[in-house]
C-alpha cells in the first residue's frame, strides 16, 4: 500500500510538467457540464489554480535546486526528433510561476463577483472555461520546446482571449473582440508563415534541432532566415501589442470584465513575449539576432513604445483605458530588455515581465472593484473613493508605486536591472527613456491616487443646493457622510475573496520588491542560458 502511494507520488512528480498544462485544459472542457451548479464550478477553478501554483512552485524549486541543465520531459517517452519535448528550465519555471501566481488571485477575485458582470450562470461557466483554457495555453507556452506546439498554444490562447473580451454583453465588447480577432489572427498567420519557413529550411520542429540546423545553413539561406525572423517578430509584436501594432489593445482590455482585463493585460501578452523570446534566443540564437540587427530593432521599438504608450495614457479619462494604454507603454520596457543582449538587461526584462504581470493585474482588479461599486468609469468621478474602499485603493496605490518604480516595490528591481543592462550595453538613450517612462507613469497614475484619496466625495445634488457655506456646514457634511451608510451603502470594499485577492497581489508586489531572491535568480540564470552563443 505504502509502496503504491510512493510510486504514485513518484509518477506525479515525474509527470508534473504535463499535469500543469493538462489539468487546466481538462477542467476547462469539463466545466460547462457544471454550468447550473456554478458554486461547484468556481470551486473547481480555484482548486485547479491552487494545484497549478503548487506545481509551479515545486517545479521552480526543482529547477533552482539542480543548478545546471534543464529537465527535458519527453511526451509519451519518445525521444526528440520525433517526439515532443517539454523543457523545464529557468525561463519556463519563472514564467510558469508568474502565470500560476497571477491567475490564482484573479480567479479568487472572479469567484462570486462575475455572474452579474457577465450576466447569467451559463455565461459565467463559459467565462471560466475560456479562462482555464488561457491559463493552460500560457503554461504550455512556457514549457514547450516545439515550434508547432507553440503555434497551437498561441492559437488556443488567442481564441480564448477573444472569448474573454466578448464575455460582457455589450456592443462595444463585441466590436473590440472582433477587432482583436482580426488582428490576432493576422499575427498568428504571420507566425505560422515564419514557422513554415523555418521548417522548410531546417526540417525540424524541435527548437534545439531547428536551432542547430539553422546555425549550419543560415549563411546559404540568408534571405529565408531573415524573412522567417521578421515574420515571427511582427506576428508576435501584433499579439503582444508592441507600438504601433497595439491598436486593438485599449478597446479589448478596457471593455472586458475586470478579471479578464487583469489576465489579458497581466499574462496573455506576456505569453506572446515569452514565445518571441524563445523563438529569437532558442531557435535563431543570439548570433543571428545580432547578425540581422534585431537587437537594435527591439531596443528602438521598445523605447518608442515606452514613450508613446505612456504619453497616450495621460489624456484618457476612462480608468480602464488609461491602464490599457499604460500596458502598451510598459510592454516597451520588456521589449527593450529583450534587445539589450546582456545578462542584466535580459534578466531585468524577465523580472520586469513578472513584476508588471502582478502589478497590472492588481491595478485592473482594483479598478474593476471601484468601477463596479461606483458604477462610474471616469477618473474624475472617483473622488473620495479611497475613504470608502480603503483596501481596494491601498492595493491600487501600492501597485501604482510599483509601476512608477519606487524602491521597495517590485517595479524598482526590474528597472534597476534594465538600467544596469543598458548602461552595460553602452547606450545612454535607453537609460533616459526608462527614467522618462517612470516620470510619465507617475503623470498618469498620480491623478488617480490624488482624486481617490484626497478629493472629497461629491455632494448629493439637492443637499448641495441647500448647503450653506462655512466650516460648520462642511463638518456637518463630513459627519453625515461618515454616519449615513444609507445613501452610500453600496460604496464599500468588495467581498472577502476579492479583498483576499487584492491583498495577496499587493503582498506579492512588496515581496518581489524587497526580497526578489528566487525569482530574480531564475531570471538571471534564464538570461545567462539564453545568451549562450551556439
Amino acid at each position: 500500500m505504502g509502496n503504491g502511494v510512493t510510486k504514485m507520488t513518484e509518477a506525479i512528480k515525474f509527470n508534473l510538467p504535463v499535469f500543469v498544462v493538462i489539468a487546466p485544459l481538462f477542467i476547462a472542457i469539463v466545466l460547462p457540464v457544471f454550468a447550473r451548479r456554478i458554486r461547484l464550478a468556481e470551486g473547481m477553478v480555484i482548486f485547479v489554480g491552487v494545484l497549478g501554483l503548487a506545481g509551479a512552485l515545486f517545479l521552480a524549486h526543482i529547477v533552482l535546486d539542480r543548478n545546471s541543465g534543464t529537465w527535458i520531459y519527453q511526451m509519451g517517452g519518445w525521444p526528440a526528433p520525433w517526439g515532443i519535448e517539454l523543457t523545464v528550465g529557468n525561463l519556463a519555471a519563472s514564467f510558469l510561476l508568474v502565470v500560476m501566481g497571477v491567475s490564482l488571485p484573479v480567479s479568487l477575485f472572479a469567484v462570486g463577483n462575475l455572474t452579474h458582470e457577465v450576466g447569467g450562470k451559463q455565461r459565467t461557466a463559459r467565462f471560466y472555461t475560456l479562462f482555464l483554457l488561457l491559463v493552460g495555453a500560457l503554461a504550455g507556452m512556457a514549457l514547450t520546446n516545439d515550434i508547432f506546439n507553440t503555434y497551437v498554444l498561441v492559437e488556443v490562447a488567442t481564441l480564448s482571449c477573444c472569448g474573454l473580451v466578448s464575455s460582457r454583453r455589450h456592443p462595444r465588447a463585441a466590436e473590440a473582440a472582433f477587432t482583436y480577432l482580426m488582428l490576432a489572427t493576422l499575427g498568428s498567420a504571420l507566425v505560422l508563415c515564419g514557422i513554415g519557413f523555418i521548417y522548410t529550411i531546417t526540417g525540424h520542429l524541435n527548437m534545439g534541432f531547428a536551432s542547430q540546423a539553422l546555425n549550419e545553413i543560415w549563411q546559404t539561406k540568408r534571405h529565408v532566415v531573415w524573412m522567417a525572423m521578421s515574420l515571427v517578430f511582427v506576428g508576435f509584436a501584433v499579439k503582444s501589442a508592441l507600438f504601433p501594432l497595439h491598436v486593438w489593445l485599449p478597446d479589448a482590455h478596457s471593455s472586458a470584465p475586470s478579471p479578464a482585463s487583469a489576465i489579458l493585460s497581466g499574462l496573455a501578452i506576456k505569453g506572446y513575449m515569452i514565445c518571441l523570446l524563445k523563438f529569437f534566443y532558442s531557435v535563431f540564437g543570439p548570433g543571428l539576432i545580432k547578425e540581422f540587427a534585431m537587437d537594435r530593432l527591439l531596443v528602438l521599438a521598445g523605447m518608442i513604445a515606452i514613450i508613446a504608450g505612456s504619453v497616450m495614457a495621460i489624456p484618457q479619462d476612462d480608468l480602464k483605458r488609461r491602464l490599457a494604454f499604460s500596458t502598451v507603454g510598459q510592454a516597451g520596457y520588456i521589449f527593450l530588455g529583450f534587445g539589450l543582449m546582456n545578462k542584466d538587461g535580459l534578466a531585468g526584462a524577465l523580472f520586469y515581465l513578472a513584476s508588471h504581470a502582478v502589478i497590472k493585474s492588481t491595478l485592473f482588479l482594483s479598478a474593476g472593484a471601484m468601477i463596479s461599486a461606483t458604477k462610474k468609469r471616469k477618473i474624475s468621478e472617483l473622488a473620495g473613493v479611497g475613504r470608502r474602499m480603503p483596501v481596494t485603493m491601498a492595493a491600487f496605490t501600492a501597485a501604482s508605486l510599483g509601476l512608477i518604480g519606487i524602491p521597495l516595490f517590485s517595479g524598482f528591481i526590474g528597472k534597476w536591472y534594465l538600467i544596469t543592462g543598458s548602461i552595460e550595453a553602452g547606450s545612454f538613450l535607453p537609460t533616459v527613456v526608462i527614467i522618462a517612462g517612470s516620470v510619465l507613469c507617475a503623470t498618469y497614475l498620480f491623478p488617480v491616487i490624488r482624486v481617490a484619496w484626497f478629493e472629497s466625495a461629491p455632494k448629493e445634488p439637492q443637499k448641495a443646493a441647500a448647503q450653506e457655506t462655512g466650516d460648520a456646514a462642511v463638518q456637518r457634511e463630513t459627519a453625515e457622510v461618515q454616519e449615513g451608510p444609507v445613501q452610500h451603502g453600496q460604496l464599500k470594499d468588495p467581498g472577502i475573496l476579492q479583498k483576499l485577492a487584492l491583498v495577496l497581489l499587493t503582498v506579492a508586489i512588496i515581496v518581489l520588491g524587497t526580497v526578489p531572491g528566487p525569482l530574480l535568480e531564475l531570471a538571471k540564470r534564464a538570461a545567462a542560458e539564453l545568451l549562450v552563443l551556439r
Partner: protein
C-alpha cells in the same frame, strides 16, 4: 542601534496613530504629533551624540542583492539634528495655524511621516538607501503640498512630482553607474568611488548634481519651489525652506564629500564650474525675490538663493568652506522659519499676502513684526545673529580656495537681502495702512483690537505686547516658536561655540 530605529520609526508610528484617531479629536492628534516629534528629536540627539563621540551606529539589512543600511556619519547626524529639532517648532506652530482648519488628520499624519523620511535621508548609510528615502520624501510631502485642494495647489503638486521624480531618475542612473563600478559600500567606510577609475566620472558628477540639484533648487531646476508655496505656511516653513530642500543640499554634500571625496572631485573639470553655478543662483535668486510682491513667494526665491550659500561653501572644497556651509545650514533655517512663521501670522490675522499692502501692519502686530525684523537682519548676516558666522566662514573658505570673487558675491547678496526685507519692516512700522481695506472682517483675536487701541508701536513696551499675545491661545502657539527661534539664533550667534563641535566633527571627518 535601538536609538537609530526608534528615531526613524517615531514619525511613522505617530503618523499611523494620527490616522487612527477620530475625525474631530484634534487635541488628541495634536498631542500625538507633539509626542512623536519630541521622541524623534530626542532619539536623533542621542544618536548624534553617539556619532560625535566616535561610535559607529549602524543598522543594515540585505534581503537580496541590494544592501540597505542606516549608518550616520557626523554629516548625517548634523542633518538629523537640524531636521528633527526644527520639526518640533513647526509642530507647535501648526497647532496654532491649523486650528479650526479642515483635513487636520491628513495633515498631521503626513507631517509625521515626512519627519520619519527626513530622518531616514539623514541617517541613510549608502547611496541606495539615500535614494529610497529621497524618493519617499517626494511622495510623503506631496499630500501636504496639495493640502488646500485648490486648482493652484493641484497644479503645484503636479509640478512638484514631475520635477522631483525626474531628478530622482537622474540620481538613479548615477547610482546604478556607481553601483556597477564599486558596488554599494557604506559612506562611513570611506570614499565610495575611491577605487573606481572610470572615464565617465565627470558625467556621473553631472547626473548627481542635476538629480540632487532639483531638490536643492539650483537654478534653473528651482521652479517647483515657488509653486509649492501653495502649501500651508508651516509646511512651506519647514519642508520648503528646510527639510525637503535640505535633503537635496545634503545629497550634494554627500556626493561631493562622501561619494567622490574632495581630492577626486577637484580633478574633474566640472567641479571648477560648480561654485560659479552656486554664485549665479545666489544672485539670481535674490534678484528675482526682490521683484515678488507676494511675501511667501519672495521668501521662496530667497530660499533658492540661500540654499546656494551652502552649496557654494561645499563646492569650494576647502575645510573653511565646508565649515561655513555647515554653519549656514544650522543657522539659516532658524531665521528662515521665523520669517515664514511671521508671514503666516500676518496672513492669518489680517488676510494680507502682498507686501505692498502690508504698510502699517507693524502697529497691529508689533511682536510679530519685531521678530520679522530680527530675522530679516539675520538674512543679511548681522553679528548678534548666528547667520553671521556662516557667512564669515563661507567668505574665509572662498578666499582660501583662491576664489575671492565669491566672497564679493556673498557681500553683494547680503546687501540685496537687506533690500528684500528691510523696506518691508520699515514700511510695516512707519507706513499708513491703505484706506480701502477696513480690516474688520478678517481681523480677529485680542492682539489686533488692543493694538489699534494703543495706537503706535512705541507706546506698549515689549512685555506688554507679549502678555497680550499670550492671552490669545492660537496666536501664542504661532508666536512662541518664532520667538524661541529668534532667541536661539541670538544665543548661538553670541556663542557660536555651542554648535562648533558638530561642525568640527564633520570637517575633521572629511578632511582628516
Amino acid at each position: 542601534m535601538l536609538y537609530l530605529i526608534l528615531a526613524l520609526i517615531s514619525g511613522v508610528a505617530g503618523g499611523l496613530l494620527v490616522l487612527l484617531t477620530g475625525r474631530n479629536r484634534h487635541s488628541l492628534s495634536n498631542f500625538i504629533t507633539l509626542f512623536f516629534s519630541a521622541s524623534a528629536a530626542f532619539f536623533c540627539w542621542r544618536v548624534a551624540f553617539l556619532v560625535f563621540a566616535g561610535e559607529r551606529v549602524r543598522f543594515g539589512w540585505k534581503p537580496g542583492e541590494l544592501q540597505w543600511s542606516l549608518d550616520p556619519d557626523p554629516l548625517g547626524a548634523v542633518f538629523g539634528l537640524i531636521a528633527s529639532t526644527l520639526w518640533l517648532f513647526a509642530a507647535v506652530y501648526s497647532f496654532g495655524y491649523m486650528a479650526g482648519k479642515e483635513r487636520q488628520r491628513t495633515y498631521y499624519a503626513f507631517f509625521l511621516l515626512s519627519l520619519s523620511v527626513t530622518v531616514g535621508v539623514a541617517f541613510s548609510g549608502n547611496l541606495v538607501t539615500l535614494y529610497l528615502f529621497y524618493e519617499l520624501l517626494t511622495l510623503t510631502t506631496y499630500p501636504l503640498v496639495i493640502h488646500d485642494r485648490t486648482s493652484g495647489a493641484v497644479r503645484a503638486g503636479s509640478k512638484y512630482i514631475l520635477y522631483n521624480l525626474s531628478g530622482a531618475g537622474a540620481i538613479l542612473i548615477a547610482i546604478i553607474t556607481t553601483h556597477s563600478c564599486v558596488g554599494n559600500p557604506d559612506f562611513a567606510d570611506g570614499i565610495v568611488l575611491a577605487g573606481c577609475d572610470s572615464p565617465v566620472l565627470g558625467w556621473l558628477l553631472v547626473m548627481f548634481i542635476i538629480g540632487f540639484g532639483v531638490k536643492a533648487a539650483i537654478m534653473p531646476l528651482h521652479r517647483w519651489l515657488p509653486e509649492a508655496m501653495a502649501a500651508p505656511t508651516p509646511v512651506s516653513a519647514l519642508l520648503h525652506a528646510v527639510a525637503v530642500v535640505y535633503s537635496g543640499v545634503f545629497g550634494i554634500l554627500r556626493v561631493v564629500y562622501s561619494v567622490f571625496g574632495y581630492e577626486l572631485i577637484g580633478q574633474l573639470s566640472f567641479s571648477k564650474v560648480l561654485p560659479w553655478l552656486a554664485a549665479f543662483t545666489i544672485l539670481a535668486g535674490v534678484l528675482i525675490a526682490l521683484r515678488q510682491d507676494i511675501l511667501k513667494r519672495r521668501l521662496a526665491y530667497q530660499t533658492v538663493s540661500h540654499l546656494s550659500y551652502i552649496l557654494l561653501g561645499a563646492f569650494t572644497l576647502e575645510p573653511w568652506g565646508l565649515a561655513g556651509a555647515l554653519m549656514h545650514m544650522i543657522s539659516y533655517p532658524m531665521m528662515k522659519m521665523t520669517l515664514f512663521f511671521c508671514a503666516g501670522i500676518i496672513t492669518e490675522k489680517t488676510g494680507e499676502t502682498r507686501i505692498s499692502r502690508m504698510a502699517g501692519i507693524g502697529r497691529i502686530l508689533p511682536g510679530t513684526m519685531a521678530a520679522f525684523a530680527v530675522a530679516a537682519l539675520g538674512m543679511v548676516g548681522m553679528l548678534p545673529l548666528n547667520t553671521f558666522w556662516g557667512k564669515y566662514y563661507l567668505m574665509k573658505g572662498s578666499v582660501a580656495g583662491g576664489m575671492w570673487p565669491l566672497a564679493t558675491v556673498l557681500a553683494v547678496s547680503g546687501l540685496l537681502n537687506a533690500a528684500c526685507f528691510i523696506p518691508v519692516v520699515v514700511n510695516a512700522f512707519r507706513g499708513v495702512r491703505s484706506p480701502d481695506r477696513t480690516g474688520g472682517d478678517a481681523l480677529q483675536g485680542g492682539e489686533i483690537r488692543s493694538g489699534t487701541d494703543s495706537g503706535a508701536f512705541g507706546d506698549g513696551n515689549d512685555g506688554n505686547v507679549l502678555s497680550r499675545i499670550l492671552k490669545d491661545r492660537r496666536m501664542a502657539l504661532m508666536f512662541v516658536p518664532a520667538l524661541l527661534l529668534v532667541l536661539m539664533s541670538i544665543v548661538t550667534g553670541l556663542l557660536p561655540g555651542i554648535v562648533w563641535p558638530g561642525v568640527q566633527a564633520v570637517t575633521d571627518w572629511f578632511f582628516q
